[in-house]
């Protein structure tokens, strides 16, 4: 019953989301907000697997995002490569980066791992700012419109309205992959080596191999977001390694609740709606986003879902135990 309901619900929800920008008025700003929401949600799903499933905090995921964007920018502006080529190259480049970083940090755990990944992100930012091959501080300009044509079917996207179907499709693919990952053997091995490393080893799981594999699986997801982001902005510069993306990703991962499939998507929608439609100005928005991140972890460690469950169980149980509670109050 439940599963049949779910089979119905998923297409309905997907269709609703797909037509949401049109329903909301269909202006350029609306489409732009929805495209960015999809891109940033995809970016966050990569990190979600590391934080929620593997239990480590990678602060280098902005680098994978940048790798996707820069690969796309370099290939499309210098070699005139099309959308499929840049996508494949972005994923491949992310895999190479993830393999190098993964092997380098294989033995590092907890805060040392996070610090090293943080350092990688900072170093990547200095390299992007100073290396003329990557355009230095000017960045790379003039990325052509996205062209995903194949077999004679023309699929081009020059503005946010035209990019939206691609962003939506990317989001759907990534949601499917994350869902499949969580049901896969690798997914359960990740959870096991996170929650109980000893049990994992006894069950024949090699935590280091699992870590490396999850890293390799997660990096291309974030890089795919960077790929589409390059087309959306039509230029790429070092500000793609700004801490904004890191804070946004982390907020997306923790705000709704860990290991909730739609969590990062909903959280990204919330954050972007505030920034796009209720903005208080760039720096005040930083305070809002940072405070949301801190407050979530400090006061609702289970995320908004945890808060919701707490409220619901409090509301549900109150009437039935009310008179018992009064008698308990007396004894206490």
């Amino acid at each position: 019953m439940m599963t049949r309901f779910r089979y119905l619900l998923v297409p309905v929800l997907a269709a609703l989301l797909y037509f949401a920008p049109a329903i909301a008025g269909g202006s350029g700003a609306i489409y732009s907000a929805f495209v960015l929401m999809a891109i940033f949600a995809v970016m966050a799903y990569g990190l979600d697997l590391i934080v929620s499933d593997l239990g480590e905090v990678s602060l280098a995921h902005t680098v994978f995002f940048a790798v996707g964007s820069y690969t796309t920018a370099l290939l499309s502006t210098r070699l005139g490569a099309g959308g499929w080529t840049t996508l494949a190259a972005s994923l491949a480049a992310a895999l190479i980066f993830a393999a190098v970083l993964g092997l380098m940090t294989l033995r590092l755990r907890e805060f040392v791992f996070s610090l090293v990944t943080y350092a990688i992100a900072v170093v990547a930012a200095t390299v992007a700012q100073n290396w003329s091959f990557l355009g230095g501080s000017d960045g790379l300009r003039g990325i052509p419109p996205l062209d995903m044509s194949f077999l004679g079917i023309s699929l081009k996207a020059g503005n946010d309205r035209e990019i939206w179907p691609f962003a939506f499709a990317l989001l759907c693919v990534v949601l499917y992959l994350v869902e499949r990952f969580r049901r896969s053997r690798l997914g359960s091995a990740a959870i096991m080596s996170h929650l109980n490393p000893r049990l994992a080893i006894m069950s024949g799981v090699d935590p280091q191999a699992v870590r490396l594999k999850v890293f390799l699986f997660s990096a291309p997801l974030t890089a795919a977001a960077g790929w589409l982001y390059a087309y959306q902005r039509a230029y790429v510069s070092a500000d793609i390694l700004d801490s904004y993306f890191l804070i946004l990703m982390l907020t997306a991962v923790v705000l709704i609740g860990r290991r909730v499939l739609l969590g990062p998507l909903l959280a990204t929608m919330l954050v972007l709606s505030q920034e796009k439609f209720l903005s208080l100005g760039g720096y005040a928005d930083k305070i809002v986003l940072g405070s949301v991140l801190v407050a979530t972890l400090a006061f609702f460690p289970g995320g908004l879902i945890g808060l919701f469950h707490r409220l619901r169980s409090a509301l549900r149980t109150r009437p039935s135990i009310s008179h018992e509670a009064t008698s308990l109050d007396r004894t206490v």
């Binding site: 943080y118 900072v122 890191l246 804070i247 930083k286 986003l289």
Partner: protein
């Protein structure tokens, strides 16, 4: 390249790194906490000092304590909010929260102080000491003296006093310390207050060496991390020596190869050390 001058630059920078890192050394050694907002707290210390001098017209010697007080308040507030996670030793949450705090500090500082770069001028930073063709500013000399004094005092406090013993006890085993009647909560709050004070003080002292921006702070975190890891996590003497080694390395690398990539080079050294000697250079020599 002028070898003597680079040696002086390296020693000054090294003491500056050690000064910036000292709070985190204690934080990590005692509470096993990390603070990714460290760089932004350094930025705040420098900007509060600048604001007190340039806008409120206070003398430098009054501006420094003001910066320290602000640092203490920020440190206490952060630790108060993170207390639950600290007791649970929930490092994942703590790391992400400190990143969030750093982000908030950046936004708040840019709103309050403006986002343009400033020069933190002190009475010491414009006067030079020259030996032949070698020179440094009085501010540089002050950094060296102050760093040495701060490290000696900290070492004495940790090794010789009751507070030091309590702090080391909490570092060793927080649960046991709690059973022995130590107020662990206050030790954690105190350690974070010290982190805030120390890094704000470093901002007030080291800030005048470079133009200050509200967006700065990332390099400081990396350099601090290198110092703390090279020195052996939690080792006060180790941090001091590691700071100086890093300062010399940075000065000579900047002069011989490229000043733009010094952070990257320091990071490569760090990776090499982590892979070869995960406990740091001073491992076991605490």
């Amino acid at each position: 390249m002028n070898f003597g001058q680079q040696l002086i630059n390296g020693l000054v920078m090294g003491h500056a790194f050690a000064l910036v890192a000292i709070g985190w050394t204690v934080l990590l050694g005692v509470a096993r906490l990390v603070n990714f907002g460290h760089g932004q707290m350094y930025m705040l210390g420098a900007f509060v000092t600048w604001f007190a001098i340039a806008t409120l017209g206070m003398p430098y010697l009054v501006a420094i304590p003001i910066a320290i007080v602000v640092g203490v308040l920020v440190g206490l507030l952060m630790q108060r909010i993170m207390l639950q996670a600290t007791f649970e030793q929930n490092l994942v949450s703590i790391m992400i929260m400190t990143l969030g705090f750093g982000y908030v500090l950046h936004g708040a500082a840019a709103l309050f102080f403006g986002s343009t770069g400033q020069i933190l001028d002190t009475p010491l930073s414009s006067k030079e000491i020259a030996f032949g063709d070698l020179w440094l500013t009085w501010q540089d000399a002050a950094i060296i003296v102050v760093a040495i004094v701060e490290f000696i005092v900290l070492k004495l406090i940790i090794d010789r006093t009751r507070i030091g013993r309590l702090v080391r006890m909490v570092a060793e085993d927080p649960k046991l310390a709690e059973l022995a009647g130590v107020n662990v909560r206050n030790v954690y709050l105190g350690v974070f207050a010290f982190e805030g004070a120390a890094v704000a003080f470093a901002g007030a002292m080291v800030g005048p060496r470079t133009p200050i921006l509200t967006s700065m702070g990332f390099d400081e975190v990396i350099m601090t991390f290198v110092v703390v890891v090279l020195g052996g996590i939690g080792s006060v003497t180790g941090s001091y020596l590691a700071g100086i080694a890093l300062g010399l390395f940075t000065a000579f690398f900047g002069a011989m190869v490229s000043p733009a990539y010094t952070t990257a080079a320091a990071f490569v050294v760090l990776i090499a050390v982590l892979v070869l000697r995960p406990g740091g250079l001073a491992a076991g020599a605490r």
